[in-house]
Symmetry: C2
Subunit: 236 residues, 2 copies
DNA sequence: CAGGCCTATTTTGCATTCAAAATACTGGTA
DNA sequence: TACCAGTATTTTGAATGCAAAATAGGCCTG
């Protein structure tokens, strides 16, 4: 299905920040870039709007969503709830193989920490969290988690960390792995929530580094409200 | 925006069961019924598919989603997680007015219980749960909760209850109101989860009463797999 | 030369169109 | 009559077309 492909491609474009938050999404350009007509593109835009990755302004097109501080708070809060649930379920259901996967990713992540390689550290970090969610064996939960984390991904994985914050995060991850290994449901949910709470504080303190609005439209924003501005028509 | 209106109308149609689970969704008929062209309808279908209310089969149109037992399990599980989170947050943030709203709905619900009016009971029940979620003051959470509960609404609110199950549910609701009044976060999350766990068991035991597939397509389902069946073309 | 009205252009929202795929129908055959 | 092939019809997926709304220029006035 063409339309689904477009959703995936556009989502990537948005998550990579190729279209920065707040920027206009020009239908025509994207049609050219993706080599499709406007119909499937517009279908994809509707889906992404429902996901919260873009906002649709009536008669004024789509823009990449921008997160307010409240949005970041809310998203982290929900994320905490979902991860806590995932941790609890994972303790009951995780397989040996899945357990190994988490452990392997964890060790790799710690190595990246010692190598001071933040990008790779973040990659493994995400892999761990996603593996735990997957281990919960609940596709509905996985889908929701995916959707919520996508919206804060940039804030979450772009923010730089202080040395001490990083050390703390690693310690928390040791505790996470430990709790999961012991199938300590209560302990795991607690440490997962604390971990995300700290992350949220960090992101909010950093001002969640979203580049401010890209003004593609010019500056002369006239306050046109009076006068029933007649209609422009087409053609010669 | 036309398209958003169509989403709302279609969602209602699906939730009311006017198009039963598994049934085909005929584009053309809906266009006539809703007095719109196929473009906005199809946009709406994509959105509803992303929400999980319908499924899109390539080249074979849309069907109202049917829930497997596993789906019901998963949805209830996530719902538990979301309500637990909502309860916890509500204990911190609920206003006096919101508290009154919950209490009022609760009392009305109990009255309906004594009147043996299941439909009205369910209506108030839902109102209580939604009010608690709203009191969490987290729009992201509210939206997710709305989406998840929509998918199990029919299973949840159509299942008949035994007298004792009903009595138990009412008792649980008394405990819910009590915990919320005392701002007893831990107690509230526990009772909310237990409440939903019981509901899930009830729904699953009832076979979650989804009518089996409506075969709009005729019976002569030929197993056409061999022969590179040539292409049909259009009129002369 | 600044500011506002008015028109040209672009962009958007939806309807319509067109080819490909699926389904329904028909007649032939054992 | 049951089954199958072959054809007509319907349905779907995506491109195109067209009117309304928004934006951008240009011209005039003070």
């Amino acid at each position: 299905m063409l339309h689904e492909e477009v959703v995936v491609r556009l989502r990537t474009i948005l998550l990579e920040g190729e279209i920065p938050p707040g920027a206009r999404i020009p239908e025509r350009d994207l049609c050219v870039q993706l080599q499709i007509s406007r119909t499937p593109l517009r279908e994809a835009l509707k889906v992404l709007a429902a996901e919260g990755l873009i906002v649709l302004l009536p008669n004024r097109g789509a823009r990449a969503a921008r997160l307010t501080e409240k949005d970041v708070q809310d998203l982290f809060e929900v994320c905490q709830g979902l991860e806590a649930l995932a941790g609890e379920l994972a303790c009951e259901r995780i397989s040996e193989q899945q357990m190994n996967e988490v452990a392997t990713a964890h060790n790799a992540m710690v190595q990246h920490y010692h190598d001071n390689d933040l990008a790779q550290y973040y990659r493994r970090n995400r892999q761990i969290h996603e593996a735990i969610v997957a281990a919960a064996g609940n596709p509905v939960l996985s889908a929701l988690y995916e959707s919520v984390t996508a919206r804060i991904r940039r804030a979450r994985y772009v923010t730089p960390m202080t040395a001490e914050r990083w050390a703390m995060a690693v310690n928390e991850h040791v505790a996470i792995l430990s709790a999961l290994t012991r199938r300590d449901s209560l302990g795991l949910t607690h440490i997962l929530r604390a971990h995300l709470r700290h992350k949220r504080e960090e992101v909010l303190q950093a001002g969640f580094a979203e580049p401010l609005e890209i003004q593609t439209t010019s500056m002369n924003v006239r306050v046109r409200k009076l006068k029933g501005s007649k209609v422009g028509r087409r053609g010669p």
